[in-house]
Symmetry: C2
Amino acid sequence: MSSRPLSEIGLIEGITTTRAIRRYTDEPVSDQDLAAILFAATRAPSGSNRQPWRFMVLRDDPTSREAKRLLGDVAVRIWELKRRRDGYDQGSGRRADSPKSRMAGVMQSFAEHLASAPVVILPCYLRYREPSHFEGASIFPCCQNLLLAARARGLGGVMTGFQAGCEAELHALLGIPDEIVISAAIPIGHPRGSHGPVRRRPLEEFVYESHWGQTPAWAVDPPGTRHTSAGPPGHRARLEGEPTR
Amino acid sequence: MSSRPLSEIGLIEGITTTRAIRRYTDEPVSDQDLAAILFAATRAPSGSNRQPWRFMVLRDDPTSREAKRLLGDVAVRIWELKRRRDGYDQGSGRRADSPKSRMAGVMQSFAEHLASAPVVILPCYLRYREPSHFEGASIFPCCQNLLLAARARGLGGVMTGFQAGCEAELHALLGIPDEIVISAAIPIGHPRGSHGPVRRRPLEEFVYESHWGQTPAWAVDPPGTRHTSAGPPGHRARLEGEPTR
C-alpha cells in the first residue's frame, strides 16, 4: 500500500492501484465512508444524465444478513464449479505455493466469508427501454467510481455477479420491484492485505489505430509494468473446445 | 477548473469533477496522453480478469476521418430527433439564455463537430458468452477509468452511444470482426471550457438500506452540493405517457 496519506492519493495513482479486495477485517464501515463512496458513485455519467441507479446497502440487520447469506451460498456454489472447470487444482495448482494455488485459496476463503462481509452494496439499474449491451454504460461506470472512492477512503471491494444466482430471492426478500435489475454485488470492507499495482496483459495487445489489428508504436505500458495472463487458468483450453457455459 | 497542477489532482477530486466535455480545441492529443489514458482504462476490473476489451483509436488518417464522419452523421440525426422529442425548443427553451437553450446549443455544436474531434476512441467488447446486461461489468468500468484519466491529463471526453447508429458501416470500414461489440464512442480532446463539480439528484433519492425504498439518514450529499433533475427535459412527460422509443 502507498505510504502517502490516503487523502492525498492522486487520481492516476488511485486508478492504477485499485485492486480487487476480497478479504476484510471485522471493522465496520462507517456511515460517513458509505455516504462518501456512494456520492462518488453517483458522480458517474449516464445516458442523458438519467441517473438510472439505486443502491441497496446491506449491513448488519436481520434482512441484510439473510441477503448476504443468499449471496454467500451462490458464491460457494459458483466457486466450486469454477475450481473444477478452470482446473485450479491441476498442474501448478497441485503445489501449495504456486500463484494458482494461492488464488484458489483466496477465492475459497472469499466465497466462504462473503456472508460476513461488513457491507455488500447492490447497484440496481432502472431499466427504461429494451434490454441491451449498451444499458451497462449507465450503471457500470458508477460501480467503478464506487470502487475507486472506496480505495480513496482506505476501504476495498470487488465487483461480483453473484446476485445473478439468487435474483428472485433477493427481489422478494428486499422488496425490489420486478422491473429493477440488480447489476452487481459489491462487498466492501477494510482491507486485510493491500492495494497495489494491478496486473494486465501488455497494452499493445489491446490497442489498434485506424484499423482492427493494427497496433500503434505508442501503445506501450509505462516502464516496469508487470503483466499477467488473461482470464482464469482454464480459459484458453476452454476457448479452444469446451463449451463456455 | 481547479487551480492545482493537474498532476496533483486527487482521486476523490477527480471523480467528483469529471464533467462530460463536448467542446475541444484544435490541439492534437499526444501519443503519450493516449498511451496513459488507455493504460489507465485497462487497469479496470473485468470478470475473471479476462480483459475482454480492445480499443480502436481514430485520429487523423483517411480511414479514421471517414469513421468519425459516420459517427458525426449519426450524432446530427439523433440530436435532431432528441431536440424535437425532448422539447428542447419548448418552454424555457424559447429563451436564448435559459439552461435548456444553452444545453441545446452545446449539443447542436457537439453533434456538428464530432467528425472533427481530435480523437474518438471506440472501446470494443469481445463477447465470450450469451449477451446479457452483466457483460457491461467487463467493459464500462474501463470506459470510466479512461474518462477519469483523461481528466488527470488535462483532457476531456464524453461517453456516447453513436456507434450503435452506424455499427455495420464501422465494422466494415475498420475491419472489426462480426463477433466484436463496439460498446461506445468516446471523443477526447483538450477542453474548450472546463471541468468542475458535476450535478446529480440528491443522494437520498438513490440509496436504500436493508429494504427497497428505505432511505438511511446518513445518505446525504456533502454540504454545498448543487443538484439537477434527472434526464432530458422531456423525460418526465415521456415516462407519464409517451412511448420511450
